[in-house]
Amino acid sequence: MTRLLDIGLDKIKNLLVDMSILSETTVNMAIESYEKGIAIRSKIFDHSEKLRLLQLEIADFAIELIARYQPVATDLRFLQSCLDISYGFMRFGRYAYDISEVLETIGPSHKCDTSIVSTMALIVKDMIKLSLDSLRDLDKDISPKLYVMDDSVDSIYRNFLRKTFKLDSEGLSTTITINDMKCYMSTLLILRYLERISDHACYIGDCVHYIVTGDPTPRK
């Protein structure tokens, strides 16, 4: 016999699926817009807003289910994790919007070397896909893989940050052009946003690990 709680849990699962599809699309759009130099801020803003509203809807509904049915064990861990996972998806949307705003504020990137961003973006897209797979299949073993990828992302970000500081400390900043500066700034900001998306992908993996095992990941 289906429990009343199961009807609510199914609704939340469907909302999470909607969020996962939308958040992945939004991040991909933002990366593509940077790589191709196409400004689509308002469209990404709409997606980001939709993700925010979905996150609020999930949070409200999860609290309602807790209050009504007082779930325990896996059900409780799932609802608790839904709050974190939906927040993660909402952040994906928000960082995608931030990326699109860099493009609007600093200008198109076609005169910049986009290879570093593209390299990191490839890893981050894979991470998003993996985190969504882990959620869909409730695969607790994806979490360690995500952390290995996150280390690569962190390393790319830190190396670029050091390179930027090195330029300044060697007094080379006087020789670089305004365009170079814009490129450095936009690259640094976008790398930062991608690095944050990567962190949230790891948190989603952690949540899945917690739902399945009841234990936080060893990394935590």
């Binding site: 429990r3 709680l5 007082q70 779930p71 325990v72 064990a73 896996t74 059900d75 409780l76 861990r77 095992t213 009841g214 234990d215």
Partner: protein, 280 residues
Amino acid sequence: MAVENLAPVEKKEQIEESFVYLDDEIEKSHSKLVVKDVNGWFGSKQALKSININIKPNSVTAFIGPSGCGKTTLLRCLNRMHEMTTGAKITGEVLLDGLNIYDKAINPVIIKRRIGMVFQKPNPFPTMSIQDNVAAGLKLNGVRDRNLIQDIVEDSLKGAALWNEVKDELDKPGVSLSGGQQQRLCIARALAMQPEVLLMDEPTSALDPLASSKIEELISNLRERVTIIIVTHNMQQAARVSDFTAFMYLGELIEYGATNQIFKNPKKDLTERYISGKFG
């Protein structure tokens, strides 16, 4: 000064510790009650199958499980009430502070004095006043000192959080109180014997939510002076009031551990399915 500063930290650690007790740690720690390989029968029907459980002092332990799983039978084995049922039999040991309560040299009356019991339905003595209900056990045990009885009655009623409501009407019949008050009167009656362990068999199942919540608060406060074991069908009540939870099924103890662990991350699939309402 240093000692004063340390005191709250120690207390805090003790409180935190009580929430992370796992099976092995319960095993190692001092136990108020130790149930060793207890089997119970009603005639030829075996109601309890090789139960082993250690109860930590000054803790609240909840027995949960579907109807007929043996929760109440186990509870009644803990103060020798099971053997009072015709045809009932028990094997194994129940140690209270290391003393086997089923030892032939032990007087069952002494055990019932040390291990009190509160039942599902409030059962005050119908012809007695509130005062006499609480004092009944003392008088039966030969206490004659009126001042002492008065002090114990007051202390017990305060312990049961009933004093403020009845202090001006102690001569009224016990049955004139509301259901919730009657149940607290029964708790006061049990406390008057100054038990070390209090067994509660679904103590709120006949009460409204407000009276139930008063009993739950009371249970929480009482753990400072007694070790409490409660049988309940209400999962949320077990989660709210107990430090440890034991899940029973078909006469067997399936899982026993810290309540937080049992309700958040049970180790056994059967426990998970029961507490999640997937069967039972």
